[in-house]
Structure formats: structure tokens, C-alpha cells
């Protein structure tokens, strides 16, 4: 083995000698700190940098796999964080709007989370996590930062069920805010509400805001209900068909307030009494 190595060295002795001499010369140059060598050293640094730049273009399969795994993990963590931040942002926005609503109104509000929701039936309801122990009573209006949601129809200790506007049994006295035209809000299925009992001569335009009327015994006056999306005379009728897009997005409703506003029982009793003679006579 050694002899073989010796033979190889002997065969290329000229190259061995010159390599040795060059190596020592270059070592001496490398250890030098003359201005010329400093310039050369800077060239060498630039050259090596360029070379590394070129070499780095060639992908390393194993390091790429490791990098992809690490990036995936980081992506997952970041996506989770983004989701939580987005949730927090939306919650913050909702709470801000609610706070503004709370400051605007003159009534007391009972905050509640929507813990149950039914939007597929003709008698749609929501369940709130606030009940009698929190002060919620039947017939109290339910509102959100966007407007009227509905009213409470039953209560228990810590829960309450409310009819929402998308319930065919619910009727709300309403008026067009701009022209003060009165009507009754009802829902007959679909995505919009109907403002009924509006004479065809009344001034109702698309884009008008519809709010609760002062005639309502259950809801405070001026609570936002929705925007007129269609107003056309009904052929062969004295009335016009007015469609109202509800202000509240029931699909995304997560929090609501129960308005501590009980109807005036004496007024209701009086109104009922005054209707009885007509009811008895069949009118």
C-alpha cells in the first residue's frame, strides 16, 4: 500500500513538488496583511459569495423536506392564530356596536348569547341564555346592534325563547321613517318581510328605512326593522306590496339584548275592551 502510494507520488513527482511549493506560497500570501492582499481578500469574499449564491439555487432535497415540514407547522400555527384574531376582531366590532346601542337607548338592556336558533321553519325562534332570574319576561322585545330581532315568548330560570321577525305569528306595527306611512310588518316565508296595510297612494320608495311605530304596545318607537327593497301596487287592490329586507342578519346572530320594556297593560286592556263590541257584532 505504502509502496503503491510512493510509486504514485514518484510518477507525479513534478506535480507533487510544484503543488507543495504553491501551497506554501499561497499560505504565506494568505497570512499576509499587505494592502494588496486585503484587496484580493475582498475579491475572494465577493467571489465566494457569488458562488454560494449560484450553488444555493440547486435545491437540496432533504433540507427542502425539512423546510417544508417546518413551514407547514408554522403555517398551521399562524392559520390558527389568524382565525382566533379574526374571531376576536369580529367580537370586538360587535361589542363596540352593542355598546353604542346601549348608550343610545333610554331602556335597560339584558345582554344574552344566542344559544339556540331555528331558521328553517315558518315559526322560527331563538333561544337566549338569559331568563327570569336575569329579569327577562314574556313579551319583552329582543334587539341587536342592527335592529329589532323579535320578542320573548317563553322563559325559564336562565333561558328565554324568542320569536324572531322571521316568524309567521309575529306582527309588528311599523312605519316608513321618511314619509311616516304606517303598516304592519309580517313574514310569509322567504328572505324578506312584508309591510302590509299600506295604501297604494302612500309614498313608499325603495331604500326607505322602516322602524317600529309608536302605535306598538310591545316595541319601543323608532327601533330599526329594515330597508324597503321593493314597493309596487298590487293589481286589483287598494294596497301596495312593500317588501322589507330585515336589518338583522339572523344567520349570523350570536348576541342579543332583551329590552326591559314591558307593554302598558292598562293600554292593552283598554284597546281590547274597545274592540269587544265590534268583535261581538261581527265587524
Amino acid at each position: 500500500m505504502v509502496k503503491r502510494l510512493y510509486d504514485i507520488i514518484f510518477l507525479f513527482k513534478e506535480y507533487v513538488v510544484v503543488s507543495f511549493c504553491l501551497l506554501i506560497s499561497i499560505l504565506l500570501l494568505a497570512l499576509n496583511d499587505s494592502p494588496q492582499i486585503r484587496v484580493l481578500r475582498s475579491y475572494a469574499v465577493v467571489g465566494v459569495g457569488l458562488l454560494q449564491n449560484v450553488v444555493s439555487v440547486i435545491p437540496n432535497y432533504f433540507s427542502l423536506r425539512q423546510e417544508i415540514s417546518a413551514l407547514r407547522a408554522a403555517n398551521l400555527a399562524l392559520a390558527d392564530e389568524v382565525s382566533r384574531l379574526r374571531e376576536g376582531k369580529l367580537e370586538n366590532l360587535r361589542l363596540h356596536q352593542m355598546l353604542a346601542l346601549k348608550q343610545r337607548g333610554e331602556h335597560r338592556y339584558i345582554a344574552a348569547n344566542v344559544v339556540g336558533k331555528n331558521l328553517q321553519l315558518l315559526r322560527n325562534t331563538i333561544t337566549l341564555d338569559a331568563g327570569e332570574l336575569e329579569g327577562v319576561r314574556v313579551n319583552m322585545p329582543i334587539v341587536s346592534e342592527s335592529g329589532l330581532v323579535g320578542k320573548v315568548v317563553s322563559t325559564s330560570g336562565h333561558y328565554a325563547v324568542g320569536q324572531i321577525l322571521l316568524n309567521k305569528d309575529l306582527r309588528v306595527s311599523a312605519k316608513v321613517q321618511r314619509s311616516r306611512v304606517d303598516g304592519i310588518i309580517r313574514w310569509n316565508g322567504g328572505t324578506t318581510l312584508q309591510l302590509q296595510e299600506v295604501a297604494r297612494t302612500m309614498d313608499v320608495q325603495v331604500g326607505d328605512l322602516v322602524v317600529t311605530s309608536e302605535y306598538s304596545a310591545y316595541y319601543p318607537e323608532g327601533t330599526r326593522i329594515g330597508i324597503v327593497s321593493r314597493a309596487e301596487p298590487i293589481p286589483g287592490s287598494l294596497f301596495q306590496g312593500v317588501e322589507v329586507s330585515p336589518s338583522v342578519d339572523f344567520t349570523h346572530l350570536e348576541e342579543a339584548f332583551v329590552l326591559v320594556h314591558l307593554p302598558d297593560s292598562t293600554r292593552i286592556a283598554l284597546e281590547q275592551r274597545s274592540q269587544e263590541p265590534y268583535a261581538a257584532s261581527g265587524r
Binding site: 506554501i24 500570501l29 494592502p35 494588496q36
Partner: protein, 163 residues
């Protein structure tokens, strides 16, 4: 005297000549490279390995003598390469013809040119001179001057050949 010892003695003599008397031969700041010429002579007469070793040793000695004015290792590097390249022209059977003929001048010119290219490339770093200026002002004139001095040994060997 044995041949290696005579060569070493002559090498020391050439080194002394280069460091002392060469300044009297300066023309327009250009000095003939007597040490390189001696290394080329060794290459033609003795072969590649002795020339490489001689180039390295004499170059290193020049670097050490130059002190802070030189670049340690630069003369050693350039003269090692010069000796190694010149060694390719070694032919045991044609030493006298090569030394006494125009071949010596051609070899000297070629080796001196390559030597100067490398030497001045490093030595003039930071001076702001470009490649062309560097070779035009220093590299080529120095190679021509060294080649011109090579006429002296060529003539000496030519007389031997004729004799």
C-alpha cells in the same frame, strides 16, 4: 565542484546581483528579472523539479529581502510557476542548442510574460491600474527587458556550441 553546490552558489550570486546591482540597470522604472532568468536557465539545464524548487526558494528569499515593500509569498508563487512552466522545455539531449539558440529568448519571453502577469496582478492591487495599463506599463516592458538580458547567456552558450 558538484553540480548542485555550484548551482546553489550561483543562485546566491544572482540573488545578490538582483538586490544590489540591478538598480543600476533600471530604465524608466523597469528592472530586468535576473532571478527569473536564472530559474529559466536551471529549468533548461536541469529540468522541471530543480527549476520549481529554485523558483520557490529564490522567490521566497526575494520576498524576505524585500521586507515590508514586498508581498510575502508573491515572488515565491510567481517564480515557482515560472520555473515549473520553463521546465516543460527541458530536453536532456538539446540543452546546448536550446541555451545557445533563439529558443532561450522565446522561452524567457513567454515565461517572463506569464510571471509578470501574475506578479503585477497581485502587486498592483489597490493601485487603481487596469489590466491593460498594468501589463502595458510594467508587465510587457519588464518581460522584454529580461528577454533582452537573456541574449547574454544565449551568446555565451552559442560560443560553446560553435566551439
Amino acid at each position: 565542484m558538484p553540480r548542485p553546490a555550484a548551482d546553489i552558489l550561483l543562485s546566491v550570486l544572482v540573488l545578490l546581483l538582483q538586490t544590489t546591482l540591478a538598480r543600476f540597470l533600471v530604465i524608466q522604472g523597469i528592472v530586468p528579472d535576473l532571478v527569473l532568468l536564472w530559474v529559466i536557465t536551471i529549468a533548461i539545464r536541469r529540468g522541471q523539479i530543480p527549476a520549481t524548487i529554485a523558483g520557490f526558494s529564490l522567490g521566497l528569499a526575494l520576498d524576505l529581502i524585500s521586507g515590508p515593500d514586498g508581498v510575502l509569498g508573491l515572488a515565491a508563487l510567481s517564480k515557482t510557476i515560472g520555473g515549473f512552466l520553463a521546465g516543460y522545455f527541458y530536453n536532456e539531449n538539446k540543452i546546448l542548442q536550446t541555451m545557445g539558440g533563439y529558443q532561450l529568448l522565446l522561452i524567457t519571453a513567454l515565461v517572463a510574460l506569464i510571471h509578470n502577469l501574475l506578479y503585477f496582478f497581485v502587486f498592483l492591487q489597490g493601485s487603481g491600474l487596469g489590466w491593460v495599463t498594468m501589463m502595458g506599463r510594467y508587465g510587457i516592458p519588464a518581460a522584454v527587458y529580461t528577454t533582452a538580458i537573456a541574449v547574454l547567456p544565449m551568446l555565451a552558450y552559442a560560443r560553446k556550441v560553435l566551439a
